[in-house]
Symmetry: C2
């Protein structure tokens, strides 16, 4: 019998999505950072769900306020990756009954800080008990929106588009993954001010996420390894594979200059061009990165 560990996350999603009815609109079916829903009007509705698991995405000993910040910030990062903003959040907590009330209150404090920072609200939630030996699960779902015409999908990249990334990569495991600042302003700026063709946020590592963006765009890719921006003390392997960078990976048409305007707008956060989209089947392969069910 095949298990989830045998096939990995991407293959699992491909298989199960065939079993259920999905929407027909562009970007409405599963596969992007958010689902895009067109209900008329000048803004499109964005939908997102995400989860943190104790012992997988955070350690039991981690500061619960930081865990709460992270749970919500991850979702803002997905809205940012569409060129949009988050608006209304729902929190589902599955916790053992022996969980301390203080822990849950600190978790909500952290979620509240992140919601206030980026101007969104809590619209609902659910709390339920898991058996005492089970890991806690924090599931966040949210609605957001993006101006019509500005939603940036993973699938819009074209052969020859250049591949860019915000900030620097690698080193999330040393604690940065709990306190990162999602690139909300940056994602909106890119959608409004550049010829951006495709975007996603880096959650599973460049080695895992760049192939996803290229595949969604029907392309291959080539990168210059020495141009991948790395955090201080990180090897190339860490920059490609640590995951949880929560920087924005995006493509723009070849030759478009964005550094100058970027550096005026975001002087403290770099932006780097490090590769190009190729024809499908050409280019190179990357291995590594985070698979939720991988060995």
């Amino acid at each position: 019998m095949k298990t989830l560990g045998d096939i990995g996350e991407d293959e699992l999603i491909r298989r199960v999505v065939r079993l259920v009815p999905t929407g027909l609109g562009e970007g409405e079916a599963p596969g992007d950072d958010c689902s895009v829903v067109d209900s008329g009007g000048d803004r499109l509705l964005l939908l997102k769900t995400d989860a943190l698991v104790e012992g997988v995405h955070y350690e039991k000993s981690a500061d619960p306020e930081a865990v709460g910040w992270k749970a919500v910030a991850r979702v803002f990062s997905d809205f940012a990756a569409m060129g949009g903003v988050g608006e209304r959040f729902m929190v589902t907590l599955a916790l053992p009954g022996a969980t301390e009330l203080k822990w849950v209150e600190a978790l909500y404090d952290g979620m509240g800080k992140c919601l206030r920072e980026f101007g969104a609200t809590l619209a609902g939630g659910e709390t339920c008990r898991v058996p005492e030996a089970s890991a806690a699960v924090i599931s966040i779902s949210a609605t957001g929106s993006v101006k019509r015409g500005q939603a940036v999908l993973r699938s819009g990249g074209k052969i020859g588009d250049e591949i860019w990334v915000t900030g620097k990569l690698g080193g999330s495991l040393s604690g940065k993954h709990l306190s990162f600042f999602p690139r909300v302003k940056e994602g909106r700026w890119l959608a409004e001010n550049t010829g951006i063709t495709a975007m996603m946020d880096l959650s599973d590592g460049l080695a895992k996420d760049l192939p996803r963006l290229a595949e969604a765009s029907g392309c291959g890719f080539e990168i210059r390894r020495d141009a991948v921006p790395r955090n201080l003390g990180c090897t190339l392997e860490q920059a490609l594979g640590d995951g949880e960078d929560f920087e924005l990976l995006f493509t723009v048409p070849a030759g478009e200059k964005i550094e100058e305007a970027w550096n005026v707008k975001f002087p403290e956060l770099g932006v780097s061009r490090f590769g190009v989209l190729t024809a499908l089947g050409e280019g190179e392969k990357l291995s590594g990165g985070w698979d939720h069910f991988g060995a």
Copy 2:
């Protein structure tokens, strides 16, 4: 140190909601079956999140297709309880890596059946790994909508309003909880054709849920125990406390006759009047029902 088991679910929600920003619109803050969002237009947006935990809401040995149906049907039931309909669903699965692929596919088959039955689609999802000894968690979130002016909150009941319920109560533990049919058509009919003042669905048992509806309406309540409709072979205690009935509990102004039109429209599903809303602090108390963190 206080734990969640010490304080219970309702007290937990009261405490944590104070720690985060919430919306200002009527029905937008947490507390109802769904959150109601007014973005203009002739329909209001409804938001809902809900979760099933292995070993709590279903047994590991349960038919995964039935579990998938139940996970989605519970959320349709919440939309029904607002007088609305479900539209776009997101599924978050937190599963051990050793979970069999066949199990997950059967789960999605069941979710797909329920989505098709009630005319909604899957708009996104997330799968993540929990440690091998942990219980699986299936978290569903969804958007829906309700016609402006027809959203039925828990808080609209008035002193003297009569208390009604659809169908019969009790006995969920004998398996019915996996195959129930959410009262979607019935909820819409009530919202469109009666003077209904408050409504919710019965998930934790009448003994737990009726006090919630009365409290949200700023009222007490009195019931006639012999008028509580029971499933065959169920005691009054089971009808009050088993939970997971997924029938609709609602109030209408005193003297309003709804049985005749109801019986024409829904000849196979009864509707019963069994109590009245009283002034706050008067009336009676009920004990029992399901508390997610109770002892």
